[in-house]
Amino acid sequence: MGKDWWKSKTIWANAIALISTLFGLLGYAEIPPDQQAAVVAGVMTIVNIALRFVTSEPIKKPGGAPPALPALILGLIFASSVALGGCASRVAETPAQKIYALQADYAAMLEAALAYESLPRCVEDNSVPSPCSDSAIVEGIRKADIVAYEAIGTARETIRASPADIQGIDLALLSARQAIDGLARIIATLNGRTG
């Protein structure tokens, strides 16, 4: 008896290739080449994580949902967020521009997080794969968002209160950047639940 079709790396690899093509057709061709590499890397990282889950976790229910499907959508959402590393923040020069740019990137990141949170919560015994969000991941996203929001607030306050403290401002901006990246990592790594 052959292995389950959804355990096939070939199928997943081709599915990702198809989705990547769709992304291109829907406007992603406009992403700068250096960011495209990051997007591809993000997708492949999540796919590998998902495949690892599929190949190491015993299947408890014949006919159950392919576990990697929610991970796939997470990966795609994350991939769209990978580009955060270099967008508005990359071109800003003054402290005020930098914190504004950071908040603009953060707002885009929140959109991706909200899209995931808005999905119905996953249920363990779902026999049909469907888009859903894992409660634990949603909680992780919310906690990471609070950390990011507070870090941004601290950076903004540092700029207002101590405009001459360049070192302090840079440190606060770096902390905020790292907090936002932490939010992205939550979306990327807490996956692999049955949808």
Binding site: W5, W6, A15, L18, I19, L22, F23, L26, G27, Y28, E30, I31, G63, P66, L69, L72, I73, L76, I77, A79, S80, S81, A83, L84, C87, A88, R90, V91, A92, E93, T94, A96, Q97, Y100, A101, Q103, A104, D105, Y106, A107, A108, M109, L110, E111, A112, A113, L114, A115, E117, S118, P120, V128, P129, S130, P131, I141, R142, D145, Y149
Partner: protein, 70 residues
């Protein structure tokens, strides 16, 4: 075969949803970059109106993100 077809249908649904989200996020990133580029080109910091618009958007998203209303 039925399972494979079902999977294909679900995959297309996921791809569509993910593409929509990706496009929205990408567009927001571009808007942010364009706004900051304009500030840099004009040699100015964000205006109160720009701050207000961004803060309102963030507040609206966070309110939904931290709400359990489906």
């Amino acid at each position: 075969m039925t399972a494979a077809l079902q999977f294909a249908a679900e995959l297309i649904k996921y791809a569509t949803l993910a593409a929509e989200v990706g496009m929205n996020v990408h567009e927001l990133l571009r808007q942010g970059e364009a706004a900051v580029n304009a500030m840099v080109a004009e040699g100015r910091d964000p205006t109160d109106a720009e701050w207000e618009a961004l803060n309102i958007r963030i507040a609206q998203i966070r309110e939904k993100l931290h709400s359990d209303d489906a």
